[in-house]
Symmetry: C2
Subunit: 441 residues, 2 copies
């Protein structure tokens, strides 16, 4: 044999790639979320991974420019998308005459950020977004619909979460009231960090921005406001008479009214929810696991004033939500038992044959698959023993033993590998048993 | 308002992007295919879009180099994948100690080719592949399994196709017999074009390669051999005693035996099937629509000797299939009625309210969605009339009218917009009716 220069097979560093068992779980998470989006009348969108740099970078600041995968082919300057929001803006702007508004779309897709890989951060990873875009105006019902949809996503995954909801107008209104409007973003950035930095440090930072001690205390106290909508109202109605503040409060109330009608059960109001992005202008929300060591958010969303400002003079307000599927997968795959119960086993049963029943085994596989049973015959392993060993190695629950007698009588030996119990059954009974087994999972 | 420089929203030329209605159909095609793969015990794989150029271009010839999207970031030379096979080879080579063999994986993903866009050709498009990879050896059962899987894919889409199967060893054996072995690829390339070029031209090309007139006629006649396995045997057993030729013939027979056991019904043998790629070494197959003006193949596949030759000294034979989903979508979306019947309507019913029943309408939407009915209230359109208009414009079959009386009696007016018939029903009856309607589609 000729000696060749072999290339070491390597995956790019920081790129997400799962082994098949993990991939089955991850795909099942995505499928469940997609089902929720469809049930709630969101339509799918699948924009290209590549976009014109001009379009993709119009909105972004300097940081994104550095992180983005950008290159030229021929005379075309292009980028790989770094999120799904800018492509949505491009799509909506291009097709605004044809689309029905409010435009409710979801998109689950990979995005690319060339930053230094670190724990929990990837250069290629999935985003899972749903947004409602209005034409000129958008009712507050949309805000409630997004929060409600977000809750349904976690319900579909059997995760017990709290959706913490706020409205940025409340904090912004207070900042307006104390005449620090021009510093709104700086102040919100500090408040967003409150849970991560020492209290003293936060106070110092706010003082540097120009807040008095009293104002510091007031605004920090304000972010600590949390509870039911009634509690929020009781605590805040007289806190500040600023118009924007009061508008935020009444928007929060309206959101709650719709959420009640929609049957939301996991919502709690919490003014510490700010969301980093400064394009959020009203409702903001995040999801947190209940009774868990994991304290970071599993995604969130909010209302923005104008999706398409860089592409169009027309105002297109929107509200959106994003499930942190990479983090969610990481979490779920480590949860004891979750893998076993959530994971539809990739193989229901192994068909074990002898030399002279090999063909009969193949036919049995075909018959079982026709009944939606994932049956597999290890056709590479010729001997009975090696087939049994393979079934064991793959931790397949059932084996169906196909000997001469079984073929003659059409009664096959079904063995439960977890209990070692076995019985002779017809194909119909085997199908029945495996299917009823599935229901119990 | 400040005047901004607006950017014209544009999509990159030649990149696949669908409007929501079309996307629903396309996604449903992909979902059905994925279901078939899962049912047949194939596991999902989702490799990154970007790979090291060294790995991705190891196998490819010069052409691919020019077409590929290649760029450098930092010191890393990388490419966007142009198919799903090389990433599979990279993955299998990296993980061969951990994977169970035969490794049966499917992958549905976008690939990138920077060629000049033309009708039916895209720079970004989906590939939909399933492959079975062996470790050192791979039984002929795998070939049959791939052909059978391919057939099931089209069955799942309700397409009446013929799967035309051949084995390259037969033609290669004859070429060996006439001592033109070193010209095998050149000859196969001519034979692959037979249906597209005039007979005379083909003869001339074969003569140029060095075949005698008799050999030309013989090999062209050979490619015309088509029929059942019995007919193929009758016609070819004595055609040529070359060992490779006879091996090809017996492999074809073995494939047929397994296909019968698996219940395949759409297979026909046809020696004109060659498949362009010269890495196929045995079984080759393609699918064609029956009774259709579309004469080109809707995908195909075949057996290859070694998937990982550039990454490993270990031999990893495989057999794979690929459904041409872009072409298929193009075809199906033009078929009269297909859109209507295949397309699960994105909205089942519109909830039409009056000013004072708006809230009750929202609750009804929530109740119906809980029962898996895609209900939508057009909350942007405030008046009864504008809501009705919107339902019409979106061609939604049912509207549920929610007036004061309906709210009081919990009996809602369900109107079939296609027949204008209407009746008063409870929520349960509405759910029942819409669901039974779905079953008829």
């Amino acid at each position: 044999m000729e000696k060749k220069n072999l290339i070491t097979p390597k995956k790019l560093q920081g790129f997400w790639e799962l082994m098949p068992k993990e991939q089955i779980l991850f795909s099942s998470i995505l499928n469940k979320l997609e089902e929720v989006f469809k049930q709630n009348c969101f339509v799918p969108l699948d924009t290209p991974v590549l976009e014109y740099s001009e379009a993709l970078l119009a909105k972004s600041g300097g940081d994104t420019d550095k992180e983005v995968y950008r290159f030229t082919k021929g005379s075309t300057d292009m980028c790989m998308r770094y999120d799904l929001t800018v492509p949505l803006a491009r799509f909506v702007s291009m097709h605004k005459e044809e689309l029905a508004f409010p435009f409710k779309r979801y998109q689950i897709g990979k995005v690319y950020r060339g930053e230094r890989p670190q724990k929990g951060r990837f250069r290629e990873f999935y985003q899972c977004d749903a947004d409602i875009i209005g034409n000129e105006t958008l009712s507050m019902v949309a805000d409630a619909e997004c929060v409600n949809l977000f809750e349904k996503c976690f319900n579909a995954l059997n995760l017990d979460v709290e959706i913490r909801v706020s409205n940025r107008k409340i904090l912004s209104g207070y900042i307006q009231e104390i005449e620090k409007e021009d510093k709104t973003n700086d102040i919100l950035i500090v408040l967003d960090k409150l849970s991560k930095i020492p209290f003293e440090e936060a106070v110092n930072m706010l003082a540097e921005i120009g807040l008095t001690e009293q104002q510091c205390n007031n605004i920090i106290n304000l972010t600590k406001t949390t509870g039911s909508i009634t509690e929020i109202n009781q605590n805040l109605t007289n806190f500040c008479q600023n118009e924007l503040f009061q508008l935020g409060l009444s928007e929060l109330q309206e959101t709650d009214k719709y959420l009640q009608l929609m049957g939301s059960k996991a919502v709690i109001y919490d003014l510490s929810i700010i969301r980093g992005h400064n394009y959020y202008t009203g409702t903001v929300f995040e999801a947190f696991l209940k009774n868990s060591e994991v304290t970071s958010a599993l995604g969130g969303g909010g209302r923005f004033e104008n999706l398409c400002s860089y592409f169009s003079d027309k105002k297109m307000p929107g509200v959106g939500m994003s499930v942190g599927v990479t983090r969610l997968f990481d979490l779920l795959s480590k949860q004891e038992g979750y893998f076993d119960t959530a994971l539809a086993n990739d193989i229901d049963c192994a068909i074990i044959t002898f030399d002279d029943t090999f063909d009969a085994g193949l036919k049995l596989v075909a018959d079982l698959r026709k009944e939606d049973i994932k049956a597999e015959s290890f056709y590479e392993n010729k001997s009975f023993k090696s087939k049994m060993k393979e079934a064991n190695r793959r931790q397949i629950k059932y084996v169906v033993i196909v000997g001469e007698e079984e073929v003659a009588t059409q009664q096959y030996t079904l063995k439960d590998m977890t209990t070692s119990e076995q019985e002779k059954l017809s194909i119909e009974k085997i199908v029945e048993k495996i299917k009823s087994d599935r229901m119990c999972k």
